[in-house]
């Protein structure tokens, strides 16, 4: 499961609208919280999102790439905050929010969440998350991942005011 605050969720969707008709991309910083030992799966808790530039200016409407140099800086930033890179996001302009063969082939961060937002005619539509599972390149696969959207930071996590949303 992916847990993200409403403001961050909206911000990554807005990023896709801003870069339309090109793809946007960014990094999710947070913590992976292990399962409780009762059969529940672990979860990636997003605490901050970082916008990244798309270096694929040759084909930005249907490809994205984050410069490794920028990733090194983002990883350093995460370390300074006591956070980890727990996932990434990008947009699919006028295309469904499902992973493509390219998304899968170029996904290498096992255990991380890959969020995709479809942007239809400039407006963010559906947002889905996919968890890259497996132990190595030859057995990796994407699994659909539920998104839990936290409405207010100050309310305890178990509070009844939280709205669970699976986009």
């Amino acid at each position: 499961m992916l847990r993200i605050e409403y403001a961050d969720y909206e911000a990554l969707r807005a990023h896709g609208e801003e870069t339309y008709p090109n793809e946007c991309c960014g990094v999710l910083l947070g913590k992976n919280v292990l399962g409780q030992g009762d059969g529940t799966a672990g979860a990636n808790h997003v605490q901050q999102i970082v916008r990244a530039g798309n270096t694929r200016t040759d084909s930005a409407h249907n490809r994205y790439n984050i410069a490794p140099q920028e990733l090194v800086k983002i990883q350093r930033q995460a370390r300074g905050l006591g956070l980890d890179i727990v996932g990434f996001y990008h947009s699919h302009p006028d295309h469904p929010a499902r992973w493509s063969a390219t998304d899968f082939a170029e996904a290498h961060w096992l255990g991380c969440s890959y969020i995709i937002t479809s942007v239809e005619h400039g407006k963010a539509a559906t947002t889905n998350s996919f968890l890259l599972v497996g132990t190595a390149e030859d057995d990796k696969r994407f699994e659909d991942e539920a998104i839990e959207i936290m409405i207010a930071h100050s309310i305890p996590e178990s509070g009844a005011h939280n709205q669970k949303g699976q986009a």
């Binding site: 249907n62 350093r76 290498h108 961060w109």
Partner: protein, 93 residues
């Protein structure tokens, strides 16, 4: 020197984000890293010992593929290596 490990590969370094490894060159540090943490090796290198194409390694702020000495580049204790797999994709198949 310090080596920063990306989230997916920490499973092979006992959960450590940063490991300290000694060595005179990038290559020597890699050898020491993979002998200390053998399970990480297949995730970084192909069967014939080449760095996997999607694995980027930075010596401080320089991609080691573009260093004059490549993996033979000399390093000091105060240098830092960052291992960072690539992030890319897109809707076009």
């Amino acid at each position: 020197m310090k080596i920063h490990i990306p989230t997916p590969l920490r499973a092979y370094t006992g959960g450590l984000e940063t490991v300290s490894i000694s060595g005179a060159t990038v290559d020597a540090v890699f050898h020491q890293l993979t002998s200390q943490y053998p399970d990480i090796k297949q995730h970084l290198f192909t069967a014939d010992g080449k760095l996997r194409s999607f694995v980027n390694v930075y010596l401080n702020d320089e991609d080691i593929r573009y260093l004059d000495g490549k993996q033979e580049t000399a390093v000091t204790e105060s240098d830092e290596l960052t291992i960072i797999p690539s992030i890319a994709g897109g809707m076009r198949s």
